[in-house]
Symmetry: D2
Subunit: 316 residues, 4 copies
Amino acid sequence: MNTFGTHFRLTDFGETHGECIGGVIDGCPAGIRIDTEFVQKELDRRAHTVYDTAKTADCNTRREPDKIRFISGIYEGKTTGAPLAFLIANVDAKVNESANHVLKPSHNSFVLKEKFGHTCNEQGGRFSARQTACRVVGGAVAKLILQTLGITITAEAESIAEVNDGDTAGAVVSCVIRNVPAGWGDPTYDGLDSQLAAALLSIPTCKGFEIGEGFRAAAMCGSQYNDTQTTGFVFRSNHDGGVQSGISNGQDIVIRAAFKPIPTLRFDQPTIDYEGNPATYTGSTRNDTSVVPRVLPVVEAMAAMVIADQFIIHNS
Amino acid sequence: MNTFGTHFRLTDFGETHGECIGGVIDGCPAGIRIDTEFVQKELDRRAHTVYDTAKTADCNTRREPDKIRFISGIYEGKTTGAPLAFLIANVDAKVNESANHVLKPSHNSFVLKEKFGHTCNEQGGRFSARQTACRVVGGAVAKLILQTLGITITAEAESIAEVNDGDTAGAVVSCVIRNVPAGWGDPTYDGLDSQLAAALLSIPTCKGFEIGEGFRAAAMCGSQYNDTQTTGFVFRSNHDGGVQSGISNGQDIVIRAAFKPIPTLRFDQPTIDYEGNPATYTGSTRNDTSVVPRVLPVVEAMAAMVIADQFIIHNS
Amino acid sequence: MNTFGTHFRLTDFGETHGECIGGVIDGCPAGIRIDTEFVQKELDRRAHTVYDTAKTADCNTRREPDKIRFISGIYEGKTTGAPLAFLIANVDAKVNESANHVLKPSHNSFVLKEKFGHTCNEQGGRFSARQTACRVVGGAVAKLILQTLGITITAEAESIAEVNDGDTAGAVVSCVIRNVPAGWGDPTYDGLDSQLAAALLSIPTCKGFEIGEGFRAAAMCGSQYNDTQTTGFVFRSNHDGGVQSGISNGQDIVIRAAFKPIPTLRFDQPTIDYEGNPATYTGSTRNDTSVVPRVLPVVEAMAAMVIADQFIIHNS
Amino acid sequence: MNTFGTHFRLTDFGETHGECIGGVIDGCPAGIRIDTEFVQKELDRRAHTVYDTAKTADCNTRREPDKIRFISGIYEGKTTGAPLAFLIANVDAKVNESANHVLKPSHNSFVLKEKFGHTCNEQGGRFSARQTACRVVGGAVAKLILQTLGITITAEAESIAEVNDGDTAGAVVSCVIRNVPAGWGDPTYDGLDSQLAAALLSIPTCKGFEIGEGFRAAAMCGSQYNDTQTTGFVFRSNHDGGVQSGISNGQDIVIRAAFKPIPTLRFDQPTIDYEGNPATYTGSTRNDTSVVPRVLPVVEAMAAMVIADQFIIHNS
């Protein structure tokens, strides 16, 4: 199903090759001022390619002029409590005919064929990276809710693999969520850490998640690691990354996500066609080198929607 | 809420200091033979401490004689399709009075106080590691379902931190799920990787998750990473760890989890009491050095329940 | 939340006084031919007022020119498996200023004030009868799915109260669902009868639900009532209305719903304003006399979505 | 699935012919005093047969000595916030061999065969009326929560069909829920009326539901029906039965349910066997004449759990 969240809930739709993509945000409290310029800026962050390890000139010239349009749920600039629906028109929506007949390596063409019995293009491009624009809109609305409590969410690139011309690069993104009150989350199965992990792994090409020390914790001993507290409940350290037993402890929530290299390269790759015969996946001339920086607002958006879900529970 | 899963669903209950713990497994198909000896052996794997970096003699002597008893849902040794309820009696159920008055560092006492306004012991010990025994039972039943398709799940310790006497050690656990058919999972928000990440992060002390190359993918370039296919849909590599775009591709599903050191040490730690005044958390004389090996059947159980959930969808 | 259904799921949005209403239909199988003319005809059935107990000439002249437009999920006339989003433009969308300052008797103005602290018009008219147009679209798509199995759903007016000029009339609507296979539903909490009851009661002004003999069963004895079977599993009667213990038995599913009179009258009613002071609710000049016949496609739509939900489970 | 409710949630298990039945109540707030005598009395109300239209002496002698035992979630007499598990031992648990080979008319044997491919007895009697004892326990806990707000729930028999010796009688039960604050419920798909309808229809043999005037509303005109308000928001009538547009309005919530005659008679009935050949369903010597009065605490329990679900949302 195409719905994310329990109490703050995004249902999105649309195909790359259709007339638009869009979504419905349900559960947004009434009275939140929707700053459409802010939402548009978040979309712009996702659309533009600034970082360029490969120094290829045309890398920055690609544009997806994503323009947000809300069509319900807002009255005189504020949410009414009714669902917010939004549309983002597709300006350049022609089907990519050339890619239609072979499997794209390490992408979704093989698994979609196995699951649905047809290719992504036959679905008009439902499962492409473009769908993340809808997540950014959901996340932008979540941020507008959270800022009423002073909660902020900031992602940044921590490292990007070095690559040669035409290749693509994996990356690590870190994200800090500030000012979440202590006591949000669940101590059993629906912990904040579980929810954040699921949210980030749902971003295409994400392959790893850490909270606090993450895998570094595995090399530590308890006397180094433990976040002890001193007078007035003040923590001396934040190795746990702000979440203990699935519940926020009032410290910064610090998470990291690993992204694999984008599967599309600028040079040809060996592959097979839909019948299993050897074929060539032709290099693209307009792909990004890394998910960074476009993935940063997506990471923030997924984190924001998880935290907004908790906000609804705790402030309804 | 104390329920895990959507179609194959475990709801568990019970406190360390009550008469028993237990659970209800709903969604189990009819006709599955319940091998109670197998379930008991899985529980035994969780209860015993074999690994001992610290070479302390008494480390292996601690026992929790967890004895499984199914009380519904089974007729002549097979599931009927009705919910399976089970109980595990608590043999040694007295409240740990000494620990009652100070916050346990990097544990759940502070966050439970913030969330519920009372301590874990006032809840009779609901949120202790003992609850994972119920997960192991749910996972054992899931494994019995999955073995009808030849699906196997095996976790092992990959590394354990070196520690001195009395300290505790973080660890990395890897887990391989074999023979999952291609096409299981979801391409948007409920991908297999998202579900496995959430499942593993819900295990106490888990701080990181990887699938396939995980964080190593972030240092790779696309030409190294991409899992290309050759004649007959055969994959040349498995960097993606068996899941692409949230959907299984028929290869081994390979995941890893990072566990922080157990918070309880054998020596005293500085802490505060429930009013925020400086205090000492007294060292324990009977804690484990590492979550390994007790966590291994828990990791397998969580993975098994996620895969069984998919089994129900695809084989109903 | 504004979502109906579990596996076949409608999420709708939009206000009477906004630019459009619409919805997202998720869970629709791939390969279903979407006959937009059929969907439009279903919408037309809801929009037009044919029945007229009051013989007032202008009763038939009111039109809501609802025009369906699908914007995603369809490729070459067939569903792709991706969510279907649709829009219905609001042609005449000005806020009803006159009704803004007093409570509408037996309508939702008082309870919305109590729940949300504001009036319906401040929400732009989210909770009006117009929202049922979205249900009709969801139901029309559900019918297109169900007709592949030969399942048909037909509602008709069974009785309408006699009223004088300017008053409104309650009504009973019956609905027959044919060709549902035996074995659909759930024997415990999520029975087909429970789901149909909830679905019909969610229609504005619905106050009662029956399946089979309904309240007449309460005056019967077992020897009259019991649906016995004869050779070849053939039933001799259908007092149970096609559902036993929450599960379809292969007979026609026969349900009935009671609708109260429409609250808006053509003459003035005593009421109070939002501060609790006596006031007058002015008679309308353009309201319907009865929910019949406009409610018929809505009843069918709700039933169709419930049955389609089961279809997904049993034919996936 | 065997779970009822969203925020206040009962998951029940057990078979008539197993060692016990029981359940897990999740979502109960901490600090509620669990009066086990009250819970036991509610169970006793369900177990005993007092009403007897047929004047058969032995009708009152049948006893199910249901004894409640809570095994988790309670500390010093109060809930801890952790799940409450409970058991009710089966004293007389032998399988009813005689009934095993033919279909019981208007009962669940045919539909269970169609759905699961086996008979109820092969499931050990999961889907029998005995399961309603678990609902009564869930409802009793819900009532203990609701009484902290002064909310009371009372069901009574409104009418029972007249029958001759050995036959069974349909009945109408009415139920009044008092002191629910205005503003509880949902204006779209999850209205209080929808939830109550689904809850009551899930009780075995329930065939109809009304709120307020119910089917009588269908014969009324708006000028008779409308619940107008006067100074201070006081309602002049309660035809709507306390719920408007799915939301409570602060008046008594008045609902009614129709129950068909119990399918088991004291004389033989024509039926077929599991192969579809003519057979006889032998009359029972120990069945009830009507679901009344045993069904009264079950009706109250289902209503109580629906209202407790709302309580959790509005008082968390």
